[in-house]
């Protein structure tokens, strides 16, 4: 390859890097604008809780959605209506395709274990804070703060455990 062509390829790589990663960050930023809702979390196993620096959890919506419609053998993706109850949003039923029967709503696909998958099951926390999450129990003060976009996709912003926010917590405590 000639040096001129090589330089052109390098220039194209720089432009692609800038456009792709810059566009990705801008897209994620824009999706997180808007009203945040609180989604209860539950069902995690302390032995499996931490994977690296990520806290793994399961949305209560997974269990609630399964009570309305079984994941296996149904059309995927499905949309589920959510409504607030005691400050936390819970699944109240399946959203009809034809009309805007409810808003907001969550979109889910079924995974290989036969569960509804809402596309969010982990949250990054600092390693030194991770031990605090190890022994917590699911309760009304433990939830995920997230923005739900127009397509029903969940974008996590914060994890609140026993009333303590992990997104704004300093690592030095």
């Amino acid at each position: 390859m000639s040096p001129t062509l090589g330089k052109r390829v390098l220039l194209a790589m720089a432009v692609i890097d800038l456009l792709f990663f810059g566009g990705w960050v801008m897209r994620e930023e824009s999706r997180r604008r808007g009203g945040a809702i609180h989604l209860p979390i539950e069902g995690y196993d302390p032995r499996d809780l931490l994977s690296g620096h990520y806290v793994r959890f399961q949305l209560a919506a997974v269990r609630e959605a399964a009570s309305f419609i079984e994941a296996r053998g149904t059309i995927s993706p499905q949309r589920f209506c959510i409504e607030p109850r005691d400050g936390l949003y819970h699944v109240t039923g399946v959203r009809k395709d034809s009309a805007s029967s409810c808003s907001p709503f969550l979109q889910a696909t079924f995974d290989d274990r036969g569960h509804w998958n809402f596309g969010v099951d982990r949250f990054y926390v600092d390693e030194r804070l991770a031990n605090e999450v190890r022994w917590i129990q699911a309760n009304p003060n433990t939830y995920l703060v997230a923005v739900v976009d127009d397509g029903g996709v969940v974008h996590p912003i914060d994890l609140v455990v026993n009333g303590n926010s992990f997104a704004s917590k300093p690592a030095s405590r």
């Binding site: 390859m1 040096p3 090589g6 330089k7 390829v9 390098l10 220039l11 194209a12 790589m13 720089a14 692609i16 890097d17 800038l18 990663f21 810059g22 990705w24 960050v25 994620e28 997180r32 290989d112 596309g119 969010v120 099951d121 982990r122 949250f123 990054y124 600092d126 974008h155 996590p156 912003i157 300093p170 690592a171 030095s172």
Partner: protein, 401 residues
């Protein structure tokens, strides 16, 4: 040939002896021998390798130290600053590659491109961390492969091609494991993932030949990976041939999709046709290797339904693997590839040892069997020498040109 300082004297004596022998054989003139001696002396006398080694260790220590300090204060750094710094490093690596692309020695440019290839997964990981994104890991690795491709095209060295193919291989593995294609890998008949990887290996060999004139080192990297992947799939199929336990008797087997077998056969036919068309060196041995690999993989599938005669299965599987190794060793020898010949022979020797373990089940019987086999081989070699008064000699590189 560069000699280290400690071994310089011994090396110098060795070279002088070789030069004398070559001059005596009429292969070198006095002037040529003197020039070689001067060159080797200049190479050996320098201490630059020591300096470069120390500099590399210092650079590595500083880099790891900076990373450790940043990691210690990771949570205190604002997300925006992390993203900006990562983006800056990504673009700076390309700028540095740009600046060094005019040098005579293109190693620095290729190293900056390699750094860029490492920064791409780091950037993806950082964005996923900052925005708490979840998803299938194969997508991230496939994205890394896509970003590594232009770097592999630009680079002079084959290292960047290794990185590209490595990302691609990993992405494929993660994709297959997402669909649980690796579960029951060594169960008879469940060779879906193996066939996909074997196809990928054959495609790499085809691509290696296609890009040989345009990018020799990338071609060598593609062939390296192709042969490596095919070797791994041959070993996996060989294990399947020797396996006794099967889940086909226990539970309901997964339905075997026909397309992995179809694409493998098509790729094998394409490679065979390409070898035939280009009149590649050691054509017969190469075609035999393709045929034996096809039999090894497809035969492992045929055995999925019944395993009544397991001993026969073991022998046939061993025979196919051994035949494949012999064909590869012959192809490598005729093409002048000494490492290829040695690797194929080593694989054959290891397979023979494992075959004894499979049959004998204990070390004692295996040991006695191997000793007996060794003596038989020695007797054959001695008999050959007595009859012909000469031993077969591997064909040298000249045949390959």
């Amino acid at each position: 040939m560069a000699c280290s300082r400690l071994g310089a004297r011994r090396c110098s004596v060795g070279i002088e002896r070789k030069l004398t022998a070559w001059k005596k054989a009429g292969l070198l003139t006095e002037e040529q021998a003197a020039a070689i001696a001067r060159h080797e002396e200049a190479q050996a006398s320098g201490t630059r390798w020591l300096v470069w080694g120390i500099a590399a260790v210092c650079g590595l220590a500083i880099a790891v130290g900076i990373i450790s300090v940043i990691a210690a204060h990771w949570e205190a750094i604002p997300d925006g600053m992390k993203l900006a710094a990562c983006g800056a490093l990504l673009l700076a690596s390309l700028y540095a590659a740009w600046r060094t692309s005019s040098l005579d020695n293109l190693w620095p440019r290729d190293l900056f491109l390699l750094f860029h290839c490492g920064m791409v997964p780091a950037t993806i990981g950082l964005i996923a961390q900052v925005y708490h994104l979840s998803g299938h890991p194969w997508r991230a690795v496939a994205l890394c492969a896509a970003f590594a491709l232009p770097a592999a095209v630009v680079a002079k060295q084959g290292l960047l091609t290794d990185v590209f193919i490595g990302f691609l291989t990993l992405a494929m593995g993660l994709l297959l494991s997402e669909y649980e294609w690796f579960q029951g890998l060594f169960d008879p008949g469940d060779l879906r993932a193996v066939l996909v990887y074997a196809t990928f290996g054959l495609v790499l060999l085809l691509s290696g030949s296609a890009i040989r004139s345009a990018h020799l080192r990338a071609s060598a990297a593609a062939k390296r990976w192709g042969i490596g992947l095919l070797g791994a799939t041959a070993v996996a199929a060989s294990v399947t041939w020797a396996t006794t336990n099967s889940r086909w008797f226990g539970g309901q087997p997964n339905p075997f999709p026909g397309w992995p077998l179809g694409i493998f056969l098509a790729a094998a036919a394409a490679l065979g046709a390409q070898l035939w068309w280009t009149r590649a060196p050691a054509l017969r041995a190469r075609l035999a290797a393709i045929a034996l690999l096809t039999l090894l993989l497809c035969g492992a599938l045929v055995g999925r339904a019944q395993e009544s005669n397991h001993l026969l299965r073991q022998f046939v599987g061993f025979g196919l693997f051994a035949g494949l190794c012999i064909a590869l060793a012959m192809a490598a020898a005729e093409s002048g590839s000494k490492p290829g010949t040695n690797l194929a022979t080593l694989a054959l020797a290891m397979r023979i040892f494992i075959f004894y373990l499979e049959l004998a089940k204990d070390l004692m019987t295996t040991g006695i069997g191997l000793i007996a086999t060794g003596f038989v081989c020695l007797a054959i070699a001695y008999g050959w020498w007595r009859l012909r008064r000469t031993l077969p000699v591997a064909v040298r590189i000249g045949r390959a040109q």
